[in-house]
């Protein structure tokens, strides 16, 4: 009974905490800009409001337009079960779970892109094309990062992989993964979540035609994905698992908060890049992860 309870409690924790992150980012942005800004809990209100609303669907869209956002949400929620939380470990853990994690994110991406194409809208086509194309480079960076962690720890389990050694490799990995986080979650400088020009959006333009509960599911899934990346980035760099449970807990929360504030600061200080420069930045992320891999390799030999 207790394991099941713990399992459900953890999942609930992930799902409840996630919408907090966009709120914190927006608060940081408004503080930097000298505004009051929306409440930190704004996304919770939005989700509740959307969940109660009715849906308007395009004439062209099939039922998959509604079902696929649910599939994407399940994939992201399932990915949370694989991610360890410091010394507490993960709910689900087996050799090779790290690849399942990467491919669950890919499943979510496929579903969002497919659902966007249901409407036959040119804008949404643009968004899907960008999402799936930039993901190619992000995927290369992620595989390189995983390989580097794998070389460092000699393991294929997320639980043991995410206890890295401190060093040059960790710094490179942190920089590379942070860029991947910005790209995969469609933040500035890859995408501007607040822009008013559909031509320049990625994620927001894919969900233009969604409304009501499916939109709520998509927005919640996006926040879960952000939290996932923040937690994985933290643990790939800071060996949270080596500490006692209380210290680890505080450390994890502090680091995730730091990453979130970092995203907010990046969004306040940088403008969105032109789309032709996006692949360059992602290539930089890939190279950073690749160098982290090579440093880890040399470190193992020495």
């Amino acid at each position: 009974m207790i394991p099941i309870l713990e399992f459900l409690l953890r999942l609930a924790c992930w799902l409840v905490v996630a919408p907090l992150l966009p709120g914190i980012i927006n608060r940081v942005k408004s503080m930097v800009a000298g505004r009051r800004g929306p409440p930190v809990l704004q996304l919770y209100y939005d989700l509740a409001r959307l969940w109660r609303k009715d849906v308007v669907m395009s004439n062209l869209a099939s039922p998959m337009f509604v079902i696929l956002p649910a599939v994407a949400w399940v994939a992201l929620a399932g990915a949370t079960l694989l991610v360890p939380l410091g010394p507490a470990g993960a709910s689900l853990s087996f050799r090779g779970d790290v690849l399942l994690f990467i491919y669950l994110l890919a499943l979510a991406r496929f579903c969002t892109a497919w659902a966007a194409m249901e409407t036959g809208s040119a804008f949404e086509g643009m968004g899907s094309a960008r999402e799936v194309s930039y993901a190619v480079l992000a995927e290369a960076a992620m595989i390189a990062a995983v390989l580097s962690l794998c070389v460092q720890t000699g393991s294929m389990l997320l639980v043991t992989m995410l206890v890295p050694t401190v060093g040059a490799s960790a710094v490179l990995l942190a920089a590379g993964l942070f860029i991947v986080l910005l790209a995969e979650n469609c933040r500035v400088p890859f995408d501007d979540p607040n822009t008013h020009l559909e031509l320049t959006m990625i994620h927001e333009v894919m969900v233009l035609d969604h409304s009501g509960p499916p939109l709520a599911v998509i927005l919640h899934g996006a926040s879960v994905k952000l939290l996932l990346f923040a937690v994985v980035l933290t643990q790939a760099v800071v060996p949270v698992g080596n500490f006692g449970s209380l210290v680890a807990c505080v450390l994890l929360v502090a680091c995730v908060l730091m990453v979130t504030v970092g995203i907010g600061l990046v969004e306040s200080l940088l403008a969105r890049f032109a789309f032709r420069r996006v692949p360059l930045l992602l290539t930089v992320a890939f190279l950073l992860c690749l160098f982290a891999l090579l440093v880890a390799w040399k470190g193992g030999e020495a």
Binding site: L107, V136, P213
Partner: protein
């Protein structure tokens, strides 16, 4: 011959140690370039054919890894990549057959293979659309279907190879990264193919008049989709076969227990599939009430969107295809807006049949020219033939004399 031939002969004959490097390099290159070509295609059957190039590339990565492992003292990871490659042969057979059946149905119903002339077919051919989508998920290597299981095994083997820190790690590292990129490109390719054929609004008349094919065309697809799902949900089912095949290739690798937690993966995949079904059903039943309103695609307030305003196959592939322009060689036509009363402006971009037009056709033409020239020597006159023989003998004599000179 193909993969089976390479497997049979490499398992039977002594193979030089360099062969593994060559095979894995060939596999990685063919995986990347195959899927890049597939992404750029507008003809959906060509797209599927190029995608087969990618999948054979993945199989060759596994096989090359196995050869490398064998030459480095039967490393345990070799068994894993070989098993993954063997399973991928089987999986590829299932999902690619499913996709080709789907493509055949669409071709039969519409009479065109050009994706830029199709669209919106899910409405008229719901079975084909749904089954094609399952095939697309499987070929993109996404859980919980079978493509993921075999790619997962190959990845695990490659990661183990990197961990083993033998020289073969330098092959496994780029192979794993290129496989990841090829996987992401495959996802883009099949998001494009599915979307262009089945989603949105019909772009031309044949797409409006399509009808679902009969049960005899859907039933095989249903069976193949069932195989894809079964192999994905319970990969342990085929492990004995894969294991005995790996044992036939390399006797020391014949073992009963899988070296990876296939059973755990199976349970996770089953759980995932069940949750997907439940969540999809719940959300749809919440949304599909009598209140569900339908309207034209909003698209930021376009008053009258037309089917021609949709994103096309070329534009969807544009970003990633531009990275491979050096090999895809796209043909661009650009007529700019000129004058105060411009007549028309055109911007067309088309990826030609690069391999056929730029490699095979010129090569074949060259071979034909040379053969025609050489053929002139053969005219049926006996006296000339005797002259050839005498000239040949004279040349040989001169050669021998030069050799024997001190």
């Amino acid at each position: 011959m193909g993969v089976y031939g390479i497997l049979r002969f490499s398992g039977w004959l002594a193979v030089p140690p360099a062969a593994g490097w060559v095979v894995i390099a060939l596999g990685a290159t063919s995986a990347m370039l195959g899927i890049a070509f597939a992404l750029a295609q507008n003809d959906f059957k060509r797209l599927l054919a190029y995608c087969s190039v990618e999948n054979v590339g993945i199989i060759l990565i596994g096989l090359g890894g196995a050869l490398l492992a064998r030459s480095h003292g039967d490393a345990a990871w070799g068994r894993l990549v070989l098993a993954g490659a063997l399973l991928h042969v089987w999986n590829h057979g299932a999902f690619k057959a499913l996709l080709f059946f789907g493509a055949g149905s669409v071709l039969h119903a519409t009479g065109t293979r050009e994706m830029s002339r199709l669209g919106g077919l899910w409405h008229l051919m719901p079975w084909t659309a749904g089954l094609f989508a399952i095939g697309a998920l499987a070929v993109a290597g996404l859980p919980p279907l079978n493509g993921f299981v075999s790619e997962w095994m190959i990845y695990l083997g490659l990661f183990d190879a990197v961990n083993a820190k033998q020289p073969s790690a330098w092959a496994a590292m780029p192979a794993a990264i290129m496989m990841g990129m090829a996987g992401a490109l495959a996802l883009a390719t099949f998001a494009k193919a599915g979307a262009m054929i089945f989603l949105g609004a019909p772009r031309t008349k044949p797409a409006v008049q399509a009808r679902e094919c009969g049960g005899w065309m859907s039933a095989p697809m249903l069976v193949l989709a069932g195989i894809c799902l079964t192999l994905g949900l319970w990969p342990l089912l085929v492990w004995p076969m894969v294991s005995s095949a790996a044992g036939a290739w390399q006797p020391t690798w014949a073992g009963a227990a899988p070296p990876v937690p296939l059973e755990a993966l199976g349970w996770v995949q089953i759980g995932l599939a069940a949750l997907i079904a439940a969540a999809g059903f719940l959300l749809w039943s919440k949304v599909a009430t009598p209140h569900l309103r339908r309207g034209p695609t909003w698209d930021c307030g376009y008053a009258a969107p037309t089917a021609r305003m949709q994103y096309s196959s070329g534009s969807f592939a544009g970003i990633a295809a531009a990275w491979f322009f050096w090999i895809l060689r796209p043909v661009r036509t650009l007529r700019r807006v000129r004058g105060h009363f411009p007549a028309e402006a055109i911007r067309l971009e088309r990826v030609p049949e690069t391999v056929l037009d730029l490699v095979i056709r010129p090569l074949a033409a060259r071979v034909m020219t040379v053969s025609t020239a050489v053929r002139r020597l053969q005219h049926g006159r006996l006296s000339a033939y005797i002259l050839y023989v005498v000239a040949g003998l004279a040349a040989l004599t001169v050669l021998v004399l030069i050799e024997s000179m001190p």
